[in-house]
């Protein structure tokens, strides 16, 4: 179980960031996407290896009109 973009998501501990992104239909080379886990940036190069702990707070962000 993790918290994905503010909502509980049924992702078991140990899965990688890449797996989570796949659930959002985002490929590892998706343009304009960035990921933070528990308040730290996870660089794209680590998406495939970074394993999530239980209750990890994952933010998957992208470009939005603004400013």
């Amino acid at each position: 179980m993790i918290v994905l973009n503010g909502e509980d998501a049924d992702v078991p501990a140990g899965e990688t960031v890449a797996t989570v992104l796949a659930r959002l239909d985002l490929s590892p080379d998706a343009r304009g996407v960035a990921v933070a886990v528990d308040g730290e940036v996870v660089p794209r190069a680590q998406w495939g290896s970074f394993a999530l702990v239980e209750r990890a707070r994952v933010e998957v962000l992208t470009a939005m009109q603004g400013g």
Partner: protein
């Protein structure tokens, strides 16, 4: 008061040369199509984007549209109320958009969306140290602007009035003081409502102007984009043309010498 310092027509920020002195915000447009048309009409080469949570439903083509428009992205940290959130957002933006440029916003008040000076300084210092090209959204306080420049910010972006208020430049004196206080480019950010506001900003010595809601929420955004483009040019030209002084009384534009005398009826 002040005249624009550079005589060249191009603006250089952190080594990047821009032919257009108009920065655009991308929020508030009725559609991406109108946004794209307005960007083209404005001539802008640098537009802001925000970072928000991926929406699985409405995955937008914003990035694609902007890429096609041929503009550079300037990610912002809109919505951040602490230095920590702003710094983290900047780092995520760097990941997402492969750019070191960041429009740094650290907000201190929900009602006015005005910046929070100490948090802003803290975030700017950390991001400059981390190699970012920092363009901070700041108040019209010349001392704060100078501190930001001294910290290594690539430009300063003082507000004219609250974001989206359309109140124009509430305190032209302070903008002129900022122009004198810093050597980096001054980009008016926030408050612009219409073309004359933009022309005034340039006349006060600003090097560029950022417009967001003034264009995107106008009834005809594309026409307003054209207006703003012309206004930047008008103000820039006027700033360098050496305007006449203000006088309380009149100065005849037609000489009296040689005036006919038709006698009295």
């Amino acid at each position: 008061m002040a005249v624009a310092r550079e005589t060249g027509e191009e603006l250089t920020i952190a080594g990047r040369t821009l032919r257009s002195r108009l920065l655009l915000g991308t929020g508030g447009f009725p559609s991406l199509a109108v946004m794209a048309e307005a960007i083209a009409a404005s001539g802008s080469e640098l537009v802001t984007v925000a970072l928000r949570r991926v929406d699985p439903q409405a995955r937008g083509s914003l990035i694609d549209v902007l890429a096609e428009a041929g503009v550079e992205l300037l990610p912002n940290t809109a919505g951040c109320f602490t230095a920590r959130d702003a710094v983290l957002t900047a780092r995520l933006a760097r990941e997402a958009f492969q750019t070191d440029w960041i429009k740094l916003e650290v907000i201190g008040d929900e009602a006015t969306l005005m910046p929070d000076a100490p948090e802003l300084l803290r975030a700017a210092e950390e991001l400059v140290a981390d190699g970012f090209v920092v363009l901070p959204y700041t108040t019209d306080d010349p001392v704060l602007a100078r501190r930001l420049a001294d910290l290594g910010c690539a430009a300063v972006m003082p507000l004219g009035s609250p974001i989206g208020s359309g109140m124009g430049i509430r305190n032209p004196y302070n903008l002129a003081l900022i122009r004198e206080a810093v050597a980096v480019p001054v980009v008016l950010d926030a408050g612009v409502g219409t073309a004359s506001d933009v022309a005034l900003a340039m006349e006060l010595g600003c090097d560029a102007v950022m417009a967001a809601s003034a264009i995107s929420r106008a009834q005809d955004p594309v026409r307003m984009a054209r207006a703003m483009r012309a206004a930047v040019e008008a103000g820039r030209l006027a700033a360098g043309a050496g305007r006449i002084p203000r006088r309380t009384y009149a100065t005849a534009s037609t000489p009296e010498e040689g005036l006919a005398d038709f006698g009295v009826d």
